[in-house]
Symmetry: C2
Subunit: 345 residues, 2 copies
């Protein structure tokens, strides 16, 4: 639930959300509608990227959905009406980017370049909040990772997200737009594309749980992450959209409490009475882009955005499982294997 | 003149140079031929990027020139034969990148992605020396700038060079290639594309001098740079191509001695008896991407490559002017204005 001061600041504002049919995007759109904003979504439902029309079912009829690619010229029309832009479109899969690097460049960098050029023409000076990723840091050189950590991405997705973040900084420095880049750690919650393999470890765990399958851990499960619930991520996004004269243009947004993958697997297994967790050696294609342990230092965003994550992991996972149990046919076709829509193994 | 140990290491080696018709590329090709290497050049003479067939006139007949784009599939054939790859293809103009950002992305990132994917298939494990630029650092946060300086490019060219450097690191980490990235400061010397505006301040100064025109300085001329003569840059490239088991994958290559633009203008004016230097306010399109003062800390490359710049600036400028005076019709059409081949003002 949003805090009321932020809710008020969106009342009757015109807000554009790119990637608004996706996981974080749709949760943000729902929060914006609840806050009284007029919401436009640009989402071309790129195969493999997690768009799902059902995600917006709670606000169906309250949102204008434009089925354009963010790089298409048609994006100019909704842009002209936007007071604030949340730029969440993109492909998040590290594995997909390693298999199809040029596709990742096209989706995450070329289309973004075209979109931001349209922003500077049609929405000059507007706040643009870009949802980036901890993946730009690569394998941490120290923990927790703050915003000064060197950028050393270990996969093509990280390289391209890095370039697009630089576009945002560059156009802000040139006074063309007014951007803030949030670097998210592992976000989880309702509306993740758990039907698509290669969308991150928490998505895979949740799929296993919803299907009643044992969770598979690569290695011994002692690797840690700092997951953040999507409602906390959305609160950070909304605050980043609303703050005036930001001093910092890059802010880490993490869950704050490191937890091992084994602990997450155990919690999900207990909540959903799953068979015993299975342990396997790291597959080669994952080991080579693995970043080891990770947790964010989010103190800068907590100060700048007057925000902190409040959702307890156990409670967050329980609510998430309840969501998927209720809407399982909208996300999974039970009894069928989960093949990647891009057609690889 | 190359030091003899490095010369020997290239004897009878098969070497591929991308961008070998350009400024640094052609000087490198000539040095490689003199060292006894079998040299292949891939260069598609992209409009506006400085390729000039005359640049290779001294080694005409000794070099195989493939007129492909580095992103074309045909590049696989020369790649299969290459023992060492010098990757110098690209567009260096900051101004062009701001006018035509998508063109810059296509030339400096997309084509490089395709080329490096071809390298991993056809030349796995080969040394690739990538000529990058100090532009990836943006406006210096401290001087001299070492390799740990944050990457904060102030123009699209810098963003795209940064992404392509990350491709080299990524594929090296994955053991697909064995890359070293050199970050060059302002390189000058024979074979610069002085006919093309927007190729950097030293190119413009040299054009003025060759045409007998007064040099124009933006601001008061107290900005400093650390120019490096192309023969010193080539020595660093050749050493980077030859060293075994490099510890560092990124090395700054600068001239070492900061000098103001006014001092350079005065030196050229004195050497070529030019009319008095003119001072003008910074044009807006240049001021917004200007980086202020710059000089490199090249101590890491001097240690790793056992190299140091040896060409005195006055001597280097004199030799450069002599080259252009001798071959002026190959670079400038006297009496005609220098219009950008991309057709902008």
């Amino acid at each position: 639930m949003l805090t009321s001061d932020i809710q008020r600041s969106y009342k009757d504002r015109s807000v554009l959300v790119t990637g608004g049919l996706g996981f974080i995007g749709s949760n943000l759109v729902i929060a914006l509608v609840q806050a009284g904003a007029r919401v436009m979504v640009v989402d071309s439902s790129v195969q493999g990227c997690g768009a799902n029309a059902f995600n917006l079912e709670p606000v169906c009829g309250d949102v204008d959905v434009f089925p354009f690619d963010i790089g298409d010229p048609e994006v100019e029309r909704p842009l002209r009406e936007a007071d604030i832009i949340f730029n969440l479109a993109g492909e998040v899969s590290h594995i997909h980017s390693m298999l199809f690097p040029e596709r990742d460049l096209r989706i995450n960098t070329l289309a973004q370049l075209r979109f931001l050029e349209a922003c500077r023409r049609e929405a000059p000076g507007r706040r643009v909040v870009y949802a980036s990723t901890r993946q730009v840091y690569g394998k941490p050189q120290y923990l927790p990772v703050d915003e000064n950590h060197p950028l050393a991405p270990v996969d093509f997705n990280g390289v391209h997200e890095c370039a697009t973040a630089h576009y945002h900084y560059l156009l802000t420095r040139l006074n063309c737009i007014d951007a803030i880049v949030l670097r998210f750690t592992n976000v989880y919650g309702p509306r993740m594309a758990i039907q698509i393999p290669c969308q991150g470890v928490l998505s895979v765990f949740l799929r296993n749980a919803v299907r009643g399958e044992p969770i598979t851990l690569y290695g011994d499960g002692t690797q840690f992450r700092d997951p953040i619930h999507v409602s906390d991520a959305c609160e950070a996004l909304l605050r980043a959209g609303a703050i005036k004269n930001p001093e910092l243009r890059t802010l880490n947004v993490g869950g704050g409490s490191p937890v091992t993958l084994l602990e997450i697997a155990n919690e999900l297994s207990a909540q959903h009475c799953l068979p015993a967790t299975e342990f396997r050696p790291f597959p080669a294609e994952r080991a080579r882009i693995d970043i080891g342990n990770y947790c964010s230092d989010s103190s800068a965003s907590q100060t700048a955005l007057q925000w902190r994550p409040v959702t307890d992991l156990c409670k967050g996972l329980r609510e998430t499982l309840r969501y998927y149990d209720e809407h399982v046919t909208r996300y999974l076709q039970m009894g069928r294997p989960c093949n990647c829509p891009l057609g690889h193994r």
